[in-house]
Symmetry: C2
Subunit: 184 residues, 2 copies
């Protein structure tokens, strides 16, 4: 089984006009994705934030839940929050995952060649370098992130006839971990 | 395909000491579960709140996203928020789902006979009355809710050797909808 880490990208991401922006941190993104990632055995949850002041904020949230009063109140939360690594750039996250790391991107939209979940599960079960599974905040990852990725996962399809698909990044991450990492 | 609705229960639920309490509303529960439920084709998302003041709060949040400025800013959010029904009791939710409605409960803990996800998928694909899929807030649904249920879904198992499992209700709902309602 390969090492798998989640990466939540706040830059570069799109806003609703399609411009490249830095999105704001949502407190529950940290909690929910850390809890889901740790439950499914991911090694790390990188939070990519170029703005130093917002990294400090994210680190304070983590500290509250690992060494502070939050962790004493809800001890189950601590092991999940301990896998959060707040880093300035996507490159920092990839560097921390070692030689040959593969960047796999996610998206609500299909574009170009896609890696299906069944194939992705097989690839993760085989030997190989670490995989960084990147999720975009805002209106999704910027094209430059897809351009450098080793693979783009197929979107989570809605079973609806009208194709409505508006999952939160927290829900999309949880479903992706479940599809990729639950033994079948 | 049977009608499936999600029910988020704020009473009766457990606190961390195991006492029966009414939990507070979390704004992102409404958004995330509505977005996941609508994406997977659920008909309704009932929010059970015995406290009238908190029902008013939840209704204002919904109004902001359906008829207010939130909906104009993010139009994709509107169809999801429109399936939210804020009701005082679980009985109100069940009554709205018609004759013969089945209450299916969820839990992070296994106890008594469990309905597996594969069997549950088959039951939903067949003809039958509506199914209300109940999720607990706080430390989970009170025993009296399990006692009246037609079925208790198997827990979402962690693949970890230590069995760590601390998913948010938002993540558990998303994963449950994906497992139950994605065609295979």
């Amino acid at each position: 089984m390969r090492r798998v880490a989640a990466v939540l990208v706040h830059y570069p991401v799109l806003d609703r006009e399609g411009s490249i922006v830095t999105s704001a941190i949502t407190n529950l993104d940290l909690h929910d994705i850390a809890r889901s990632a740790h439950t499914y055995g991911l090694s790390d949850f990188f939070v990519v934030r170029p703005v130093a002041a917002q990294r400090t904020l994210a680190e304070r949230v983590c500290e509250h839940w690992t060494r502070g009063s939050g962790g004493r109140r809800i001890p189950d939360r601590t092991p999940a929050m301990q896998i959060i690594r707040v880093v300035p750039t996507l490159d920092d996250a990839l560097a921390a995952l070692g030689e040959g790391v593969e960047l796999w991107t996610t998206s609500a939209r299909a574009s170009g060649p896609l890696l299906g979940f069944a194939d992705a599960r097989e690839r993760l079960a085989a030997a190989g370098p670490a995989v960084a599974l990147a999720f975009g905040t805002g209106w999704g990852l910027a094209e430059q992130v897809y351009a450098r990725a080793s693979a783009r996962l197929e979107p989570i399809q809605s079973p609806r006839a009208d194709g409505y698909n508006h999952l939160s990044v927290r829900a999309a991450a949880a479903i992706s971990f479940d599809r990729l990492l639950t033994p079948r």
